[in-house]
């Protein structure tokens, strides 16, 4: 019997006689055939060709795509793309935020002229890529995620949608682009790359290394970093200079009282239970106990109340008023981690608000109006995090931070621009004094 390769739910299925020791191939008793994970498809074909085996290949049935772009690649983008080509159309590019990763992805699709899937981590990026691809390409753009499931030869998908549908659509693309590819190391997400047969793979990121070592998995599934550009290589061209001002406010006596009460409920429980909150795993332990121990749960809720008092401190809101007053002529973005606080500030100062509750349409509208100058102020919670095309501001006010350095600086680098008269951009950090929050801010420094 002759050998036929076909795609079957995230695997390449081999029917007929096949040589031993093919990459990734195992015998499958359930279907009486050989099977390899779909991502080994390119290796598999190469091994069969080298062994001189003839076979019928039904894995991918792809239309030819004629794509073109009006982008003129900058020199560093061209260098990066060439490095990727030289690595056999496989591998990751590490490029700083704001260096035009979308442009590189588009250029890769144009060069290969094959159906392309772009996988992105957030709805904002989904919107942004869809808009960009639609502008560049003269073909309909598919979209999986954010309430839509529309498949086209060029399709943008969220990691979540791609995860759910990878085994079903894995034979429909010749190229897959993973934006913010470091996400692919996540336990579930790595399946996306595993189940796709696409031989050409491009990963884009600003920070490839992961603390958990999962970048090794990415190297296996997408390819290693083939080219790296540092922030310094692009200095002056895209990244703004800015100053940071740290302002401490105190709790009101009533807030102080509520804070201390909640905090002591929490610390009392810790003292009784010998948990010493020295690491993230201690916190995990507490969360785990709270599932069965009502006192642990009460302690956790108290901790949350204390945090809320601290984050929502009235004097922070008052102080924000002062800053808004001082910067009436500037373009301001206000950050806070708490959704409820965003709405409180929005209602108090009538600021346009963007949170995870905001619909994609309204979010786009607000950002567009900010970009065009109809709005000069926006308040938001976390949603502008990664890679999103955020309009420039010259003042940022952070009312609460997560303590994660990376998140913090990524936001800043993206948003702050000097004003036309050349004055430096400004970042305010509002911190409540004499509370645990100070430690968070201190750790970040």
């Amino acid at each position: 019997m002759s050998l036929t390769l076909s795609y079957d739910s995230g695997t390449v299925r081999l029917q007929g006689d096949y040589p031993a020791d093919l990459p990734g191939v195992q015998a499958d008793e359930r279907s009486k055939s050989g099977r390899a994970p779909a991502y080994r498809y390119a290796d598999l074909r190469q091994a069969l060709d080298e062994a001189g085996v003839t076979y019928t290949d039904r894995v991918l049935s792809l239309p030819d795509l004629s794509l073109s772009t009006t982008y003129d690649l900058r020199a560093y983008q061209r260098t990066a793309l060439d490095a990727w080509h030289d690595a056999g159309d496989r591998g990751c590019l590490e490029l700083p935020t704001g260096s035009g990763k979308t442009v590189v992805g588009i250029a890769a699709a144009v060069a290969l002229g094959t159906p392309t899937l772009v996988v992105v981590p957030t709805i904002d990026l989904l919107d942004q890529w869809e808009r960009e691809l639609d502008r560049e390409f003269d073909v309909p753009i598919g979209r999986l995620g954010g309430g839509e499931q529309r498949l086209e030869p060029v399709t943008v998908a969220t990691y979540d949608s791609a995860y759910l549908r990878a085994d079903e659509i894995g034979d429909q693309f010749g190229l897959v682009v993973f934006d913010e590819v470091h996400h692919l190391g996540g336990e579930g997400y790595r399946d996306i790359a595993r189940l796709l047969a696409a031989p050409a793979r491009l990963g884009l990121t600003a920070t490839f290394e992961r603390p958990d070592g999962a970048h090794e998995v990415i190297e296996d599934l997408v390819g290693p970093v083939v080219h790296r550009i540092g922030v310094d290589d692009l200095a002056g061209e895209h990244l703004a200079d800015y100053d940071i001002k740290r302002i401490e406010v105190s709790l009101t006596p009533a807030e102080r009282e509520r804070y201390e009460a909640a905090q002591s409920t929490f610390t009392d429980y810790l003292a009784q239970s010998n948990i010493r909150m020295e690491s993230g795993s201690d916190y995990q332990e507490l969360v785990k106990r709270s599932g069965t121990d009502p006192r642990a749960r009460e302690a956790l809720l108290a901790k949350q109340r204390a945090r809320e008092v601290m984050m929502n401190a009235q004097r922070k809101v008052d102080r924000l008023g002062t800053l808004l007053d001082r910067h009436r002529e500037d373009r301001i973005i206000v950050f806070t981690a708490y959704t409820d606080l965003v709405y409180r500030l929005s209602e108090r100062f009538l600021l346009p608000a963007i949170t995870h509750e905001t619909s994609a349409g309204e979010r786009r509208e607000i950002l567009d109006r900010f970009r065009e100058g109809d709005y000069s102020r926006v308040v938001t919670a976390n949603v502008l995090d990664e890679g999103v095309d955020v309009p420039d501001a010259n003042v940022a006010v952070v009312l609460s931070g997560s303590g994660s350095e990376r998140e913090f600086t990524q936001r800043l680098g993206r948003i702050l621009r000097p004003t036309d008269d050349g004055s430096r951009a400004l970042l305010y950090e509002l911190v409540t004094e004499e509370t645990a929050e100070e430690n968070v801010a201190a750790r970040r420094r």
């Binding site: 008793e29 009486k32 099977r35 390899a36 994970p37 995860y163 399946d191 109809d374 709005y375």
Partner: protein, 515 residues
């Protein structure tokens, strides 16, 4: 299904046991229902606060949240505002931009300007600004589809489904294998059939499960459970990836059912021909027990679920059974092939040909004209037109029967000495687990065979002493009953009496004239 953080599971003894709840929690279920019912017309924030209070009260907050999660689907929330909030926001923010809002008076000015546009007071706009936020939406209606006890049943089902999210492999036995296999296919799972000491199992995984223990089929396993749980008898074992540790999860109909759905326990038939055959076959009361849709059989890449199986069970109770999970009985499978297109028949025949090593009879509609093809494939073909004749099936089973009888006869000693003073051949055969045919020809040195009953000679003597000519039949039957003898006429005849019948029921015992 519940969200992962609402899973309640115990790992006692290294296992993985979802914490199923019993009728003891119906009061709590009723209270959660009551909280929803009591908050119709109120904001979601108020409902959430009431549920949080209940959580604090209850022994297990996750249980309260689980109930609430299930009821959430029956509640309708809507935005209640005289002006559409998004339009309000656009106007208000525009006005605020032109004013430059920092203090209260600037705020009031902006609201008034926007209010003029809509013709409403500023305070109305303040309320409308975020009336579409989830927490400010109002519960317009609540139509629960469950009573408290049904809510508990649904909770148990959802809990089990949630536990299956982390399964990497699921093994199922069910009284409706055909339903199971078709659900597995619909969900695009891969399966194989394996034999275990306690019967055949359908092992369900995904295509890429060869390469890694993947949890990505969790939601499909969960949906499969719903189908399985709607059947009468089933057992399920799953391998759970519990944060890197493998654990076994066992579920059965005792843990999980589907609320409002009665398990289909009566036997169902695909066609009138099958139903008709089953009824007539049962009426014969043979030593074969008829089983409807036995477990699936592996046939190459596919699985065949034969229509029936015959199990060799001498002395069984009768009735058509559904799948018997533990089988030591000799089994012959039986497929009734109705009128189908030639393509279908060809496909089916090739699958039957690929069947593993089992005994199989196939009834073929004459009009198909494929009887020869089946014979050629060494299956025993029974042609029929209209309905399957039970006699033909009986005839086809007879060679097995003869062999089975001979085998069981061989397994018994040539002479038998039962302990009982009186025992029927049927009872003795039953006791030995063989057919009557298998013991008929044995010798019984301590007993005499009277009719179909073995009786010790001493018992016959004692009975003889108590029977006199002229007694009524009823008196004599009482005496025979005392000694456990049912075979009245044969014993009377052996002792030299006859019955002089008087009407239909009564009679008098007389000496039999000797020739």
């Amino acid at each position: 299904m519940l969200t992962k953080e609402l899973l309640r599971v115990s790992r006692a003894g290294g296992g993985y046991h979802p914490q199923f709840v019993d009728a003891g929690v119906d009061d709590l279920a009723a209270r959660v229902l009551g909280v929803y019912q009591g908050h119709v017309g109120e904001r979601r924030a108020a409902l959430d606060a009431a549920l949080t209070d209940l959580e604090r009260d209850a022994d297990d907050f996750k249980l309260v949240r689980g109930f609430a999660k299930l009821l959430e689907r029956d509640a309708t929330f809507e935005t209640q505002s005289p002006v559409e909030p998004r339009r309000v926001r656009r106007r208000v923010f525009e006005a605020a931009e032109s004013v430059g809002v920092v203090d209260d008076s600037e705020r009031q000015t902006a609201l008034e300007r926007a209010g003029d546009h809509f013709g409403v007071a500023p305070s109305v706009l303040e309320d409308a600004l975020y009336a579409d936020r989830d927490s400010r939406q109002v519960m317009a209606a609540f139509d629960p589809r469950w009573s408290p006890s049904e809510l508990r049943t649904q909770y148990n089902l959802s809990l089990a489904q949630t536990a299956l999210f982390d399964a990497t492999e699921v093994r199922v036995r069910s009284s409706e294998p055909a339903t199971l296999v078709s659900a597995v296919k619909r969900l695009q799972l891969l399966y194989e059939i394996v034999s275990t000491p306690s019967g055949r199992e359908v092992v369900v995984t995904g295509p890429d499960a060869l390469f890694s223990n993947t949890r990505r089929y969790g939601t499909r396993f969960a949906r499969l459970l719903r189908t399985v749980a709607a059947t009468a008898e089933w057992e399920l074992t799953a391998t759970i990836d519990d944060r890197g540790t493998e654990r076994e999860l066992h579920l059965s109909a005792a843990d999980v059912t589907v609320p409002g759905v009665e398990p289909v326990s009566e036997v169902t038939y695909d066609s009138g021909v099958e139903a008709d055959f089953a009824a007539r076959f049962e009426a014969l009361e043979l030593d074969w027990e008829l089983i409807r849709e036995p477990e699936p059989l592996e046939a190459g890449e596919h699985v065949v679920v034969p229509d029936f199986a015959f199990d060799w069970r001498p002395g069984h109770e009768g009735g058509v059974r559904k799948t018997a999970p533990d089988e030591s009985a000799f089994r012959v499978y039986f497929e009734i092939m109705g009128f189908w297109t030639p393509e279908y028949v060809r496909k089916k025949l090739s699958r039957l040909a690929a069947l593993e090593d089992v005994e199989l009879l196939v009834a073929v509609d004459d009009s198909l004209g494929v009887g020869d093809a089946i014979d050629a494939q060494a299956h025993r073909a029974i042609p029929y037109s209209g309905s399957v004749r039970v006699k033909d099936v009986r005839d086809a089973l007879r060679p097995f029967e003869a062999e089975l009888v001979a085998e069981s006869a061989d397994s018994l000693p040539d002479s038998l000495e039962p302990d009982a003073d009186v025992v029927s051949l049927a009872a003795l055969a039953d006791e030995r687990g063989v057919s009557e045919d298998a013991i008929e020809d044995k010798s019984f040195p301590a007993h005499e065979l009277v009719g179909r009953t073995l009786v010790r000679p001493a018992v016959l003597d004692r009975v003889d002493e108590r029977i006199e000519a002229g007694q009524t039949l009823a008196e004599v039957q009482a005496i025979l009953d005392d000694h456990g003898i049912d075979d009245d006429s044969a014993v009377l005849s052996r002792l030299g009496y006859r019955v002089e019948w008087d009407g239909l029921s009564g009679g008098t015992v007389r000496e039999r004239e000797t020739d």
